[in-house]
Symmetry: C2
Subunit: 386 residues, 2 copies
């Protein structure tokens, strides 16, 4: 189903020859309307790939006819010629669709610092646009994989009004070698929305989902999440209800990314509760998620709460050190900043691990998802480009 679950969308994934293994590497997602309201959010890295610089400008217009995505090359750190390559890609898609290149988003993922093979890519754009069909969602999701072991897709239905659908695909996330852990996602809906509604809903949804996946703390040069709405369902949803549904879809994809993170043996939810504010909760959770020592301990199935405290202690969140409590898989191994229940009761054998930190400073909470730091992670990220 993927991005073609909602009415009004066609998609395709084709093999253009960018990947050495002959797998699909170019995807197109086309919005046939009647509306083409859209929004997108991008990496906060100041070193932005050419497709991000291009797509930021397109997204400002609030109207998107199509998205072209390629794996097999990130087109990052490629200077003015790289930007021209992105521009040419959008023009080729615009020509194939007889539409404006200024309403074509472009996303790329793969190695950085190398130019794309443009003749192959442009032929792939032609083929993808020509092949785009109502049943092409899975092929598109397949074409944006790098080392993702499975395509990531999600969809949700709402019965509001005459009903509407949200569909989505994604690839990547930290720890997904190769490249810089680029995360790309395209979300489609046949709900009737204004560009402003798309923008608000997408920022709210990604802020609580993709933004809280923190596998290795590295921000990619290419991260992009785009939302396109066709209006083809005829339903203009309540914005709050739509945002909730969109957040569900994005959260579903975010968890799929963590579950498939290569080089990881654990999916770890860092829940911070008892925080003075949601920002404090996110700050504390992120500090734990970024502690190399903590992530190694979980890999070793070691319920090392001291490393959790030490990570929280680096933040400016409101708390008193002697009021911190930590549970690992439900066992409160640290109470009031010191030794708590028997740590041997905290079984870390399963892939899913939950670490709960109680700041004892309020009632706000947040969860950040991460992975462990493993020997396999080091292997995969130490040699891929050699």
């Amino acid at each position: 189903m993927s991005v073609t679950a909602p009415l009004g969308f066609r998609a395709a994934g084709v093999n253009a020859g960018l990947k050495p293994n002959g797998a699909r590497d170019v995807a197109a997602v086309i919005n046939d309307g009647p509306s083409r309201s859209a929004a997108a959010v991008f990496t906060r890295n100041r070193v932005k790939a050419a497709p991000v610089l291009w797509s930021e400008q397109v997204a400002k217009g609030g109207q998107v006819r199509a998205i072209i995505l390629n794996s097999g090359g990130a087109n990052a750190c490629t200077g003015a010629p790289g930007f021209q390559d992105t521009h040419t890609t959008a023009e080729r898609a615009g020509a194939a669709l007889d539409d404006s290149p200024g309403e074509v988003l472009v996303c790329s993922t793969g190695l950085i610092g190398e130019r794309l093979a443009m003749p192959e890519l442009l032929a792939g754009v032609d083929n993808a646009v020509a092949a785009a069909a109502r049943d092409g969602g899975l092929d598109a999701a397949d074409a944006i994989r790098t080392t993702d072991s499975v395509a990531k897709i999600a969809f949700r239905r709402s019965t509001a009004g005459s009903g509407y659908t949200v569909g989505a695909m994604a690839k990547g996330a930290g720890m997904l070698a190769p490249s810089l852990a680029t995360m790309l996602s395209v979300v489609t809906t046949d709900a009737e929305l204004t560009p402003e509604q798309c923008d608000r809903a997408l920022r709210a949804a990604t802020g609580r989902t993709f933004d809280r996946v923190d596998a290795d703390g590295c921000l990619s040069t290419n991260d992009t999440v785009a939302l396109m709405s066709s209006g083809a369902s005829g339903t203009a949803p309540d914005e709050e209800e739509f945002t909730a549904l969109l957040t569900e879809v994005c959260g579903d994809l975010a968890r799929q990314l963590i579950a498939d993170a290569e080089g990881a043996s654990k999916s770890i939810a860092i829940e911070v509760v008892g925080a003075a504010s949601e920002d404090d909760a996110v700050t504390a959770a992120r500090a734990v998620a970024r502690s190399a020592l903590f992530k190694c301990a979980i890999y070793g199935q070691d319920p090392n709460w001291g490393r959790v405290l030490a990570a929280v202690g680096t933040t400016d969140a409101t708390f008193q050190p002697d009021e911190l409590n930590v549970a690992i898989n439900g066992v409160w191994v640290c109470r009031r900043g010191a030794l708590g229940d028997d740590r041997s009761k905290a079984d870390l054998g399963a892939r899913e691990v939950t670490v709960t930190v109680d700041l004892s400073a309020g009632s706000a909470a947040a969860t950040v998802w991460t992975t462990d730091l493993t020997v396999e992670y080091v292997h995969e990220n130490s040699a891929y480009s050699s």
Copy 2:
């Protein structure tokens, strides 16, 4: 030589039975004066071990008669009983020296979340104070080792006035399993200094040395660097000259820590030049030093400049992405934010690696020292406490 190189100091390192392997685990460094001006800097982690909480108060007085250090237990996250243990340790040393416990610094390193074996420790304090001698510097440096493969010592002589000496010992640093990478250092001098001079000089020296060693980004609960001056040389040095000499000693030790970091195969200097300010240079260098992807690449001897740019791009330092240049071991593999010279010329075979980042935004510079992220690091930090 170590901490007993300067006149006026005695030291010892004894085996008190805190370490299971029977190695030395309690050290004493005693200042016999005539002066006892001192200063200390501590971890910025808000979760502070009991000895840090105690020693912060002692250091405020500016007078230190002795330092007691133990390996074999960090006495961190041990609550009020742990603080009482530190207090008792200082009282025992004070009694053995017939001096004030309020002028005894205490440092601990080892596992956190566990109480110290107090009968053994207190007997060790008695023995260390009794054994302290002018030739005990090396034994003291040996006693504070955890998994350091060698004791770290340094000293420098000045010919100013009638001459004076700075001696020092250190242990630990990020990536030194076990525990939270605690870094302890004691620096002694027979120069005549006021407590205020000690404090200013120590903060300046550590700010450019120990503070710029960033092995795994994890702040310990126990980090302590103390400076004690006996005045026994009779030389009251120029403060600027003394600070420069102290900075040399601390820099020497900092590089020894990186060179001995267990689980590391590379010692990496991240030099940022062309920065608008020294703060910008440190911020950018630290971001690179903390990038797991960059550190894995260096482990794999992969001159992956894209990961350097992506790390710099996460900072708020002043720069334009298309004006960044990166050299790896002197080869400018990235020029103006894009592909530069042939990366195959950047030989990463040796342990020492230098990464130079030119922000093209000014004339300030700074260097941060780090290590690579290795399979051995993950091994050592995933299983030690199980």
